[in-house]
Amino acid sequence: MPNEVKAFKPKIVAFCCNWCSYAGADLAGTNRLNYPADVKIIRVPCSCRVNPMFILRAFQRGADGVILCGCHPGDCHYTTGNYYARRRMTLLFSMLDYLGIEKERTRVEWVSAAEGAKFAATMNDFVETVTRLGENKRLEDLRCKE
């Protein structure tokens, strides 16, 4: 099948806070809840550790979608971290949208350690959304695609 067009497989980077979402992802695993292998998780201590730089970097390096998962507001292990993350990401996403970059490529989702099912569902949905959008062209760095 040499001429068959390879189906688009998006690259998704998921930043997960150590205390809630990463544990939620573990729980999804423990419960054998499927989500696409396109999602790769990076563990961070808190959603507030995620710098907009990291998100842009991911797009530069070829990511098609970036999702940030943290504790539910009010449940932050560090009390207030996700509140700051929420503001930062709201503004960043709004700016990306303003620049005409597909806003659906970025997402924030609050996933607790108990929400394995939500984690898997979120990832399934996000991968589907990004797959629909197709390859990231507007924030790509062609040098990294050679």
């Binding site: 730089m53 842009l56 207030t80 929420r86 709004s94 700016m95 620049l99 806003k103 924030v108 040098r143």
Partner: protein
């Protein structure tokens, strides 16, 4: 006004209140004015100028100047005082070493802006009523003052000084401006149109760093883009990604701190409307977290170092503006 300023500055030098004066100096032409430090009445007489071309925001110079020995007198226009306050808030200026005289401002233009209006070969400029009369190599030209002012002045946000030790002229007022009109227009476009708009703008960037270096909010000891350790250092934007990256991160770093002084757009040699990026953040902050004007005071918490439990979720971006 210029005469009063020179006289007052001379007095303050004379009586020892200040040892230096930060102001503007005349140039080769009527419009090429340079910020300068004056140390004597003679120097002031010789070169000090205040006219419709003194657009430079002098606040940022005080980061260094206020740390030097002795007190410095600075003339600040209303919009400059916002920057000054913001720098005070961030502990960048030593307040005790600065004596501020607030001066009125009716908007500042520059030679480049007049040329963009089709004026060639400027030899001299007179202000006659609401007009600029420009003497050029190719004859005289009259431009209405209103048309000769750049966007930042036509949409002036405030004639009120936020801080001063002494005020020249009357105390002004905070104005209702239309400064978000263009942002709204962009928001109303489709993402494709917006993308095309910004690509056409940012692709002209030559990474001269003038916007960054002039910006009073960009006062970092070392910018992440100059720091090889930061992982995002870049000298010349090698491709479209790096152009976007620089301007997004720069706007983000000054979000909630940018006073909207407009210097970035003024200095851009490529005429990129960089203030539209900053204003987007300002507008979003106002909408999401309540009205906030950076530099209005020296105490309040900046929006990005603050939160409320009821803040909007990032998903608001999906449901808002810019139809798909």
């Amino acid at each position: 006004m210029q005469g009063m300023m020179i006289a007052r500055a001379g007095e303050l030098l004379e009586n020892g209140t200040v040892t230096r004066v930060l102001g503007w100096q005349t140039g080769e032409f009527v419009y090429d004015i340079t910020p300068a430090v004056f140390e004597s009445a003679e120097e002031l007489e010789k070169g000090f100028v205040y006219n419709s071309f003194c657009g430079n925001n002098l606040s940022k110079y005080l980061i260094q100047a206020s740390r030097k020995e002795g007190k410095i007198l600075v003339f600040l226009k209303p919009c400059d005082t916002y920057s000054f306050n913001q720098l005070i808030k961030e502990h960048r200026i030593v307040r005790e070493n600065v004596y501020i005289i607030g001066i009125p401002c009716d908007g500042k233009t520059d030679g480049e802006f007049l040329k963009a209006k089709g004026v060639k070969g400027i030899l001299g400029i007179r202000e006659e009523g609401d007009n600029f009369v420009v003497d050029t190599l190719y004859g005289e030209k009259t431009i209405a003052r209103e048309d000769a002012l750049p966007e930042r002045c036509r949409n002036c946000k405030s004639k009120k000084h936020m801080v001063y030790d002494e005020l020249m002229g009357e105390e002004g007022e905070v104005l209702d401006s239309h400064r978000f009109d263009m942002v709204e227009k962009l928001e109303a476009m489709t993402p494709d149109e917006r993308f095309a708009f910004w690509r056409s703008q940012l692709s002209r960037c030559i990474r001269c760093n003038a916007c960054r270096n002039v910006c009073p909010a960009c006062s970092c000891e070392k910018c992440v883009f100059d720091n090889p350790q930061s992982g995002i250092a870049q000298k010349a934007a090698a491709d479209s990604f790096e152009e976007n990256m620089f301007h997004i991160i720069r706007a983000f770093h000054v979000a909630g701190r940018c006073t909207d002084c407009g210097e970035c757009s003024r200095v851009c040699p490529q005429n990129i409307p960089l203030h539209l990026l900053n204003r987007k953040f300002i507008k979003d902050i106002d909408t999401f977290y309540g009205e906030y004007q950076a530099g209005e005071d020296t105490e309040s918490r900046a929006p990005l170092t603050n939160y409320t439990q009821e803040d909007v979720e990032p998903s608001i971006v999906y449901t808002r503006g810019g139809n798909n």
